[in-house]
Symmetry: C2
Subunit: 252 residues, 2 copies
DNA sequence: CGCCGGTTTGAGTCCATTCAAGAGGAGTGG
DNA sequence: CCACTCCTCTTGAATGGACTCAAACCGGCG
């Protein structure tokens, strides 16, 4: 194996390889990217809207999210990032941050200078393609969120988000569909969905009453993923996880 | 000039050059891309969700939009494309369409095979970077739309959308800020904004009463862009139009 | 223990929706 | 040229889903 398990960037190789095949030389180049580890505490900002973006980071552990704040003070969460995600490829390549990136839990990340990413992309078309692909999937998720927030009622929105997160976690090997830790407060769920925390609470209660989810202390437990997906009008196509046409979920 | 004005793809060079500098060789390669012209009538589909995406198209004239349909039959418009935009770089690179693309007016486009785009990207890092950048800006717009739909009230949403479209048209040299043709029906505006056409109508009436917009037969006329931008909580940063730090709009 | 952030629940309000009906244009065909 | 249709816009009235306000509850932690 060329991939030394010890490197912080190993998950990046693993993720990019999903999008586009990489040869040994490409993988080595990724692992050779300059980077430095960083830890952020709960709620700390990685970057703020309007900042110059100098780094792009790989999320090693913990959860993060992107957000924007509108005039009245309302906050919209735009994406939830899980371990293995490239956080902020967007801001860093565009140069100027158009949104905030913030730690949801305490997190560990590997910060890679923007310039290093760019020159690797220039040197290796395959890696460039894989990173491009990663941002395209990100865009696809963003479109689905727009549709979710714009055209589904509160109950479906909540169900949809739970399905997306659990499925992404499963795909990353971090959880099972029917038992996953989602460290989102109800206020954060609301900010993802364009709802108030109070209303999120009521919708969770409703889903609980219907037996689709259960409760553990602080995290959601999904007890009936399939029905939840139906309730949330959830179709995983937009996550582009099943590249060879094999669906990720065995339905029966 | 290397760029023959006669080529259908000239606008593509013009657009990509904004994102990343291209040398003569790159420009020639873009113009040499295989492509065939196509016309679509009002409301015709370019591609539907679930289709295999074989082509990526450059919009030559007319307007198009992307959309998704949710369970209840509700439609969410995800983006409005104007002449000069690369329509469907997203679907085509991801291979499987995760949303519809549809003509809003009758349109002309140049269809470029997916494979040709990919091999050009592989051959020329600069062009690849520019196309990547284009999709990143698209993602940025998508995030702003999520925030718009999720966290702004109806009046602000409408104002925000009008500002975005007029500014993009101005940037493309197709209109002035305070006099622009937007061929969207009120139903389509509603589908962009997560509102019903009836309510869009009321909001337009309101904005008209405040003197921010006027009415011509079928298209919106903006009479006070600056105030409209304030009403819509509009900040153009997310469009990434002002690369050198020069704002596109002279405020005073 | 007592605070504190997050959750839960209730009551009343409001923004946007639904339902419904009419008006205005653009295009078509007799 | 007029009648007719279709689509979009417009307006009113009633409904409802989500919000606001407010209070109580709960678990974790210093």
């Amino acid at each position: 194996m060329v991939t030394p398990e010890k490197s912080l960037l190993a998950p990046m190789v693993r993720k990019l390889e999903i999008w586009s095949p990489l040869d040994e030389h490409d993988k080595a180049a990724i692992l050779a990217l300059p980077h430095r580890p960083r830890r952020l505490g709960h709620a700390q900002y990685l970057i703020r809207e309007g900042d110059k973006a100098e780094y792009s980071s790989l999320l090693i552990s913990g959860f993060a999210f992107r957000s924007k704040v509108v005039a009245g003070g309302g906050r919209q969460i735009l994406a939830v990032e899980i371990p293995g995600d490239m956080v902020d490829l967007q801001n860093s390549l565009l140069g100027l941050a158009d949104h905030n990136v913030q730690a949801m839990t305490s997190i560990e990340l590997a910060m890679i200078p923007r310039e290093a990413i760019l020159s690797l992309a220039e040197a290796s078309p395959k890696v460039a393609r894989a990173m491009w692909h990663e941002t395209l999937v990100d865009g696809s998720i963003s479109r689905e969120w727009t549709a979710n927030v714009g055209r589904r009622d509160a109950k479906a929105r909540v169900a949809h988000l739970l399905c997306e997160l659990s499925l992404r976690l499963k795909h990353a090997g971090l959880a099972e569909l029917d038992n996953c830790e989602l460290p989102l407060t109800q206020e954060q769920l609301g900010d993802c969905l364009g709802l108030t925390p109070v209303h999120v609470n009521r919708m969770l209660k409703l889903l609980r009453a219907e037996g689709l989810i259960g409760r553990t202390k602080r995290s959601v437990q999904i007890t009936d993923w399939k029905t939840l997906a139906a309730a949330g009008d959830f179709n995983s196509t937009y996550l582009h996880l099943d590249l060879e046409g094999r669906p990720l979920v065995d339905w029966d």
